[in-house]
């Protein structure tokens, strides 16, 4: 079993293709859509969690790249700027997956990119501008 979270960037020409359908039906990959912004006729972006057998997932990813979908790993998308973070914990009740978490012994806040679903809730509530996101996700 392999599970991976990725960001799919769709160029204009394939935004309307049923890419997720093919992933599921032809490659047997389970697709869990975490976040999406797709305008027909324009570029699109989707954050998905893919799961299945190791080979299913890697064939699925190959397929995506073949049809022109750019696949990026999630960790590149959102960053927790540790030198700006004051460990105030104001992001904690807004983070749905505990990607941002506080150690209740040391009281320092840390970020685990693998758990992040790019909901962007933390971006708005972090008063220290310690969360940075690539521009196009706004």
């Amino acid at each position: 079993m392999k599970q991976t979270k990725v960001v799919l960037n769709f160029p204009e020409n394939i935004v309307e293709d049923p890419v997720t359908y093919h992933l599921i039906v032809d490659y047997g990959v389970q697709v869990n859509i975490l976040r999406a912004s797709i305008d027909p006729g324009k570029q699109g972006m989707m954050v998905v969690e893919l799961s299945g057998e190791e080979s299913q997932v890697s064939h699925g990813l190959n397929y995506l790249e073949q049809v022109g979908v750019q696949v990026e790993s999630l960790a590149e998308e959102i960053r927790h700027l540790e030198d700006r973070c004051a460990s105030c914990t104001s992001c904690i009740p807004h983070c749905p997956t505990q990607a941002l978490e506080v150690d209740r012994e040391s009281w320092y806040v840390s970020f685990e990119p693998d758990k992040c679903i790019l909901c962007l809730s933390c971006l708005e509530v972090c008063i220290y501008s310690a969360i940075s996101v690539k521009e196009r996700l706004y």
């Binding site: 004051a86 105030c88 104001s90 708005e124 008063i127």
Partner: protein, 396 residues
């Protein structure tokens, strides 16, 4: 057995003073009892690091050759308006000040408030220069009518932070009972008790450790954003008559202090501009107050724990803004708040804070180190803060 501040300072001088943080003392008292602890411990350090809106700085700017009277004219720093109703070269900038062009909450709510007074202060402390623009009407003694110039702390004769109200003794826990998200000075509150925010360092917070202001008074030397600072007055809205628990700590926001310190000695580690979406700007400041262990009663005060400190839960959708509904919908301890979830109206409500406990600890540890190294001495206050029975009140 009692000690005096002079005796404690003599021990600091000889390097023999025993200093603990307000957190470390808790276990010591439990183990040794308050009598023995009073004998053995000399100073307890407290700390807090949190947004405190009533913060700002006074500057005196060196005059150019043709002198200028900013007083009665106007002044901006990086386009953020400063108060110029003082003498020729004195201005004050408050943390919450915004440039005229900022969209505030008007274009699209919530406003982002990316730059303002707090950032000007942060930039100056970081050693950056900011653009001073000034306008004046011109007089025989101050002929110059306008000025535009990059200035940093070196271009000023004086630069000190003066905060009329910091360090609240206890604070509300904010929640939202309505069915819409709201943006407040206590953060983004999700509808229907979706989350709760608190803002106090609890057992490390300075005024929680000296509930009746026995040792914290006018003239008390403190650690202030990396510099030495002083308590100069009771803070605005100082409200010592608030209801108190048996351990003397207040159940609602109560005492406050006005603080002063030299901006030149402050550092970004201990001072930061912050932006609250939908609300505005403010400045987070680090404050550490040493408490001399003069007797057993003070030991009891400083060993207070999070489970003995309570805060009121207040609805910020109706009660806070409009005074509608119940003033208080619950009461929780800081221990409960720090567990990550509190129980209100039969609901589990996730909590978060604006006061950084990690940083509060760093402040208390740092001040402890300064005292142990002989780099910080205690002072006796020159006048007390108004206490619980003085009739001093505040309507907020």
């Amino acid at each position: 057995m009692t000690k005096t501040i002079e005796e404690i300072n003599a021990k600091i001088r000889s390097g023999t003073a025993v200093v603990l943080t307000a957190e470390e003392i808790i276990d010591v008292v439990q183990e040794k009892g308050s009598k023995k602890t009073a004998r053995e411990v000399d100073v307890v350090t407290t700390g807090t690091f949190a947004p405190m809106c009533s913060s700002g700085a006074f500057f005196n700017i060196k005059q150019p050759k043709d002198k200028m009277k900013l007083g009665g004219g106007f002044a901006t720093l990086n386009d953020v308006p400063a108060y110029a109703g003082l003498a020729a070269a004195d201005i004050y900038i408050g943390a919450t000040a915004l440039p005229d062009g900022d969209p505030r909450n008007s274009n699209s709510r919530p406003g982002k408030f990316r730059y303002g007074g707090a950032h000007v202060i942060e930039d100056l402390v970081a050693g950056k220069k900011v653009t001073l623009k000034g306008g004046a009407y011109g007089t025989d003694c101050y002929p110059r009518k306008s000025r535009e110039q990059l200035i940093g702390l070196d271009d000023m004769n004086d630069a000190f932070m003066f905060n009329p109200r910091n360090c609240y003794q206890n604070y509300n826990v904010a929640v939202n009972l309505s069915d819409k998200p709201i943006y407040t000075y206590m953060g983004k509150l999700k509808p229907k008790l979706g989350n709760a925010y608190y803002c106090s360092a609890g057992q490390l917070s300075p005024l929680f450790n000296d509930p009746h202001y026995r040792t914290i008074g006018i003239g008390t030397r403190i650690f202030f954003c990396g510099a030495e600072g002083y308590v100069v007055w009771p803070g605005t809205q100082h409200n010592p008559g608030a209801a108190r628990m048996e351990n003397d700590t207040p159940l609602t926001p109560a005492g406050t202090i006005a603080l002063i310190g030299d901006l030149r000695n402050m550092s970004l580690k201990w001072l930061r501009a912050v932006s609250f979406a939908g609300y505005g700007l403010t400045l987070s400041v680090a404050i550490g107050v040493p408490i001399p262990i003069l007797d057993e009663e003070i030991v009891r005060s400083v060993s207070v724990t999070d489970n003995e400190l309570k805060a009121p839960v207040v609805d910020y959708s109706e009660f806070y803004p409009r005074g509608e509904g119940a003033a208080k919908i619950g009461e929780v301890t800081y221990e409960e708040l720090k567990s990550g979830s509190i129980r209100i109206k039969d609901q589990d409500v996730p909590t978060g804070s604006f006061s950084s406990y990690a940083k509060a600890r760093e402040v208390a540890q740092h001040l402890k180190q300064l005292i142990q190294n002989g780099d910080f001495y205690l002072t006796q206050w020159q006048a007390p803060l108004p206490g619980a029975n003085t009739g001093k009140e505040a309507t907020i």
